[in-house]
Symmetry: none
Subunit: 218 residues, 2 copies
DNA sequence: CGGCCCCTCCCCCTCGCGGGGGAGGGGCGC
DNA sequence: GCGCCCCTCCCCCGCGAGGGGGAGGGGCCG
């Protein structure tokens, strides 16, 4: 019994990427795509997917509203995994409250995406540790969760210092001078920051810093 | 909180023109004028401007020396934008080396001047002296005005496409796939973008994209 | 027509970045 | 005392990023 997946994302390339990953698996199949939340109810009743991978941020009807609508109207609704580019995305939190079964970051490794789809299809609620900690750290009532969280609230002071300077466009060498430490130390801190933010490089770290409000434009 | 601007130029008409442009803005205000670099330190301590627009070429104490003097003597010195008539003005580079935060050509369009003032007032990551010098050195005298603000309006469509994807955290290879061109082409575009934005690397380009409103968080 | 810009793609090269290890000292809580 | 985290610094290594060139085709415009 193959798991039927519906992709909902306004970016065609994202859909294409997910489809490629999913269709390469024997037990998974993409049965349809939608570029807008408004198309989802129709697609669901027509295609009867088991799992929906849905972007939170879309024009017209966003992922949260689409999730609510499906869960409210469809009997035996499919599992919904909310997909987002950035962790600590308010919309993700809202989507989970609306009844989504889990969420994924777009930069998540393919294997993990596949695993996530299978898990929710089998009835498991999916929440990756990193994602849970990110949410707990950012939205929890100041409670320090067991284990450190991969978000800037859980960055050490030094790491936050480094991230701020990275987000000013400074190189590792420049940061080293500014903090009066060796470039090696800066590299260590930057590496830790990237790991905690699940960013691939400093550019993505800067984007996250802006998107999460760690820093603000002007 | 309005941004307080001090004008320093030996030509009264230039000062008047700048004042007219700046005072027309709600968030900007000219708090004083000086016709000579020698008057600047006193004006700074008296008026506490956020930004100084300073001509490089002035009788008695020129803009470079005035810049040095302020940065050496004033605690929490204001941001200094060096103003010049000529592109590739040697004095400009000296001023930047002396610690000025950016420079403008007098013929720059008013909107760009305003934007530049706001940008430097916001933080120290806006104009990158090293990159400016590199640009001027490579582009040569026939190049387009190096003093003009880093304007995405000047980017070609393709370059803007590339910048948008860079600002999503994508690598050159990923962008190449997304735009169906070769990685080499992407490198060319990215290089052009960096040059036009006066950014040293893609990280700085992303910062500028956020700070100028080319892209917005959320 | 001849320039000029834009887009495309190629070569070379250097170097900073990030990943993989590890190591030592200081502070804090158990 | 011991463990744990943080900060500091070191090694090696591969790779992508940028800078320096150049080149060809298409479109637009004087």
């Amino acid at each position: 019994m193959t798991i039927k997946v519906l992709l909902v994302d306004d970016e065609r390339l994202i859909r294409a990427g997910l489809a490629a990953i999913i269709n390469a698996e024997d037990d998974l199949a993409v049965v349809g795509e939608a570029s807008d939340g408004a198309e989802v109810p129709g697609a669901v009743s027509r295609l009867r997917p088991d799992v929906i991978l849905m972007d939170v941020r879309m024009p017209r009807l966003d992922g949260i509203q689409a999730t609510r609508r499906i869960l409210d109207t469809v009997p035996e609704p499919p599992r919904i995994i909310v997909v987002t580019t950035f962790e600590n995305d308010e919309y993700v939190y809202d989507a989970l409250k609306a009844g989504a079964n889990g969420f994924l970051l777009k930069r998540t490794r393919p294997e993990e995406i596949l695993q996530a789809v299978r898990m929710v299809a089998h009835g498991d609620t999916l929440l990756f540790p990193a994602a849970i900690r990110a949410l707990a750290a950012s939205h929890g009532p100041a409670g320090d969760a067991p284990g450190s969280a991969p978000w800037h609230g859980r960055l050490t002071e030094r790491e936050a210092d480094v991230l701020r300077l990275v987000a000013k466009g400074h190189s590792n060498a420049e940061i080293a001078q500014e903090l009066f430490v060796s470039p090696q130390t800066v590299k260590t801190h930057v590496g830790n920051v990237l790991g905690k933010l699940q960013a691939r490089d400093r550019t993505q770290a800067v984007i996250l810093a802006y998107e999460t409000g760690f820093i603000t434009p002007g």
